[in-house]
């Protein structure tokens, strides 16, 4: 049972200066599990994800991946980060490289894989997200939704054990949200372990194995989606959901 746990976040605390942004947050993610993190803006969702791949350091607690603590001074982040794919909210493709060059950069320079092999992989992945014909395009020639799909491919080609998604559809025009969410649903079906921060409630309900609700730097509730959405266990989650339904209806 325990060796099924891929990621274990144990009471982590994070400060930005005096400001405590994460307060003893704990969460475990099993292999193949899909965890959706919800919560009001500014509650620390992005920071939680960024701590997992070492973009932020923590001031208390620990994080383990595959049973190894990765929040130590001598953590070899180059190795760890290959196992953790991350896609951000901002369109973060490298603007001076084509789609294919964007995808091949890390496997070539970090993993030192053979160009021929990874190119084949890249083309397969591009086909899977419906962007094979864009392989020679520059990011400026793509729509927001297309860029995010390329960003997903760029992370996937490293063969990560877990994918982190930080509001990847939040900056998209509404008509493009679906093409990105569909790719994530497809990954879920293929058994990828994922931690997803999103404001798309329907999507969260559909994809999540478990919902994590955060507020003010704390993890307030962890529930199965049907419980969370129909019968939230804390007053704070209830208030959050009420507000959301209200804004969604408008």
């Amino acid at each position: 049972m325990d060796n099924n746990i891929l990621l274990k976040i144990d009471e982590i605390t994070k400060f930005f200066g005096e400001h405590k942004v994460l307060n003893k947050a704990s969460l475990t993610v099993e292999k193949g599990e899909i965890v959706v993190v919800l919560g009001p803006s500014g509650c620390g969702k992005s920071t939680l994800l960024r701590c997992i791949n070492g973009l932020e350091d923590i001031q208390g607690g620990s994080i383990s991946l595959d049973g190894n603590v990765i929040t130590q001074k001598d953590t070899r982040w180059t190795e760890i980060r290959q196992k953790i794919g991350m896609v951000f909210q901002s369109y973060d493709l490298f603007p001076h490289m084509t789609v294919l060059q964007n995808i091949l950069l890390a496997p070539l320079r970090v993993q030192h894989r053979k160009k021929q092999d990874i190119k084949e992989d890249a083309l397969k992945l591009l086909e899977r997200v419906g962007l094979l014909d864009k392989k020679a395009s520059y990011p400026s020639e793509l729509s927001g939704g297309q860029r995010q799909r390329v960003a997903i491919v760029r992370a996937l080609i490293m063969n990560p054990e877990i994918m982190l998604f930080d509001e990847v559809t939040a900056a998209l025009d509404p008509e493009m949200v679906h093409e990105v969410l569909d790719v994530m649903l497809d990954l879920a079906k293929a058994g990828m372990t994922m931690v997803i921060v999103t404001h798309e409630m329907q999507f969260a309900k559909a994809i999540a194995d478990k919902i994590v609700f955060m507020d003010n730097g704390e993890i307030v509730e962890i529930s199965k989606p049907d419980i969370f959405f129909n019968n939230p266990q804390t007053e704070r989650s209830q208030r959050f959901l009420n507000k959301f339904n209200y804004t969604e209806k408008r």
Partner: protein, 226 residues
Amino acid sequence: MDNMGLGIIFEGNNLLRLLGGLWITIKISFISVFVSIFLGIILGMIMTVNSRIIRVITKIYLEFMRITPQLVLLFVIYFGATKVFGIDIDGQTSAFIVFILWGTAEMGDLVRGAILSIPKHQFESGTALALKKHQVYLYIIIPQTIRRLIPQAINLTTRMIKTTSLIVMIGVVEVLKVGQQIIEANRYTAPDAALWIYGVIFFLYFIVCYPISKAATILEKKWASN
């Protein structure tokens, strides 16, 4: 009578002398630009360091170089150094010193701006892809910085070429000075020489600077989209 002024240009070795003067202009500006680019890149990277003291010092240097007219700087170095330190610096050396000090300041500021204009998430996506810090710089940050920089650096180059005309004032015989000498020598035989000579000098500056600024525009257009 009509063509006297124009004729002066082709008289004797006048045209050759003008081109010789132009060569001095080009030599001083290109060497200054080259050294300034090199030192400016280093200065610019230093300017992005997160230290108050360094920021303040570099800012004072930059502002000082911008506020002071280049002519004043030339006088300070050429005449001042001789008086105060008793070192005898010739005109060309003074010109190099002033243009490199000025060019490095301007170039440093361009480099600083270019580095800071790269969004933070470009660093972060590279890092998240497991690239090491030097790889993030090598493959992601520096190529984008250079693209932003080259058009501006070229504009700075043409500005420096034009500003070298000031070194006449400290006795360097460059293209403008040669022109003046020719005009002087023919004051009585061809009173309208000034117009023609300055016209030719204008044309010489133009053929040096125009291709350079044209290149800047083309690169800017080419890279604007990606």
